[in-house]
């Protein structure tokens, strides 16, 4: 049935593009007729940002190397490196009860069901259906969505469930005595295997202890701009190389290879 749907969805893709056309025309017009001084100013700001980010990135390279060494000492697993695919939001779900986004990337770009989607600030949601050229993303604030998280400060695990309100997530089954405070950062825990570990999800904005109830009422505000982001990053797209790698039997034993892989990890870490 899913295949039928994804096949049929290709037929309505032109419609979805048409709906998005005014927005794209507007942004095209805005950039084409923008004031030169504004552009110069923006350029300066962006250059400054690039400088700041790349200086942070230099330190990242060192930290990743250190992290790898420490993990090696502890015999831990190597952290996985995430690749990104840039997607553009071309449509919203015109329905008050569900929170879906339509992206301009589909199966042909390596998108798959269950893929995690983030924006520049945090986790946005996951892909729930894919057609050849487009994909649909269920936002973390949808009532049908839940994401396993942990409190960044102390590693306390919980599940953040969407409330239907774009500014609100609910943490379920948090014991009254649990160490969760207002302002705590919630990041993906990686449990469940769907979302990669360590992406910021939300910030706790209210912890209510209700006497007589076993669980505290904890709500959090999503960090991602769920209703504003136009460009999103889709994590770990399937590339042709990946698919080939999956089909190859991978020999993981000899030391030089491992060292090579580490080098690769370092390099790609720097690039990102």
């Amino acid at each position: 049935m899913d295949q039928v749907r994804s096949f049929l969805t290709v037929a309505v893709t032109p419609l979805q593009w048409a709906v998005d056309l005014p927005t794209r025309l507007w942004s095209w017009g805005a950039t084409t007729f923008a004031d030169r001084n504004d552009l110069l100013e923006e350029n300066a700001i962006l250059k400054e940002q690039t400088l700041q980010l790349s200086s942070k990135n230099q330190r990242m390279a060192y930290l990743i190397a250190e992290n790898l060494r420490l993990r090696e000492l502890l015999n831990g697993q190597k952290p996985s490196n995430d690749n990104f695919l840039l997607g553009e939001v071309i449509g919203l779900d015109a329905d008050a009860f569900t929170h879906l986004l339509l992206l301009n990337r589909g199966r042909n770009d390596g998108v798959y069901e269950g893929q995690a989607v983030v924006d520049s600030l945090g986790l946005m949601g996951q892909v729930i259906s894919v057609s050849a050229f487009t994909s649909r993303v269920l936002l973390i604030a949808d009532t049908a969505h839940a994401v396993p998280v942990l409190v960044n400060r102390n590693g306390f695990r919980a599940v953040a469930i969407g409330s239907g309100d774009l500014d609100l997530l609910q943490l379920t089954h948090v014991p009254d005595t649990a160490d969760v405070k207002e302002g705590d950062l919630l990041v993906t825990s990686g449990l469940g295997g769907r979302f990669p570990k360590g992406y910021p999800v939300a910030e706790v904005n209210q912890v209510k202890h209700e006497p007589g109830k076993p669980f505290a009422r904890v709500t959090a505000k999503p960090l991602a701009q769920l209703n504003r982001s136009r460009y999103v990053l889709m994590l770990n797209p399937k590339s042709l190389a990946d698919i080939q790698l999956e089909s190859l039997p991978i020999d993981s034993g000899t030391a030089p290879e491992l060292a090579d892989e580490k080098q690769d990890n370092l390099k790609s870490g720097v690039q990102q």
Partner: protein, 156 residues
């Protein structure tokens, strides 16, 4: 030619229904597709009927990413109801007709809610009926516009 114009009108209605709106206005979004479907069922019951309704509903499903067949069922029911009522609806005055269309769209919204209840996402207010209200208010103008188009292109 006539079927082309009819398809184009449905296409336009689909575009309108997929238009992004601010969250608050979403509650008031008129049911464009249902309205156009009801119009054609009243005006040309020999051309547009349950099957066309089903097909258009399927397009809505694909466009909105809803449960496949949800809107197809609703539109088919809507078309069937309009076909039952078209002789009476033709003789009504503008506002009486609008009220009746409002009731029909209300029924379709109700069915949509039932299906959404079954699949797990339910509204907790009666506000999901607001589109029926806006559709009622817009109906007379839509009716006049569609009639002009129908006469202009002499669709029978």
């Amino acid at each position: 030619m006539p079927s082309l114009i009819i398809s184009l009108s449905f296409l336009f209605a689909l575009l309108l229904s997929a238009m992004p709106l601010p969250d608050r206005l979403l509650w008031f979004q008129p049911e464009w597709v249902s309205m156009v479907l009801i119009y054609w069922c009243i005006a040309l019951p020999n051309r547009v009927g349950v099957f066309s309704g089903f097909f258009v509903g399927l397009c809505v499903d694909l466009l909105e990413g809803a449960l496949l067949g949800q809107n197809a069922l609703i539109s088919a029911v809507l078309a069937a109801l309009s076909l039952q009522l078209y002789q009476r609806l033709r003789n009504y005055g503008a506002w009486q007709q609008a009220m009746m269309v409002g009731v029909l769209i209300g029924i379709s919204l109700m069915i949509a809610q039932w299906i959404q209840n079954l699949t797990g996402v339910a509204a907790d207010t009666i506000a999901f009926m607001l589109p029926a209200l806006t559709s009622t208010i817009l109906w007379p103008w839509l009716f006049i516009a569609m009639r002009t188009i129908r006469r202009r292109f002499q669709i029978r």
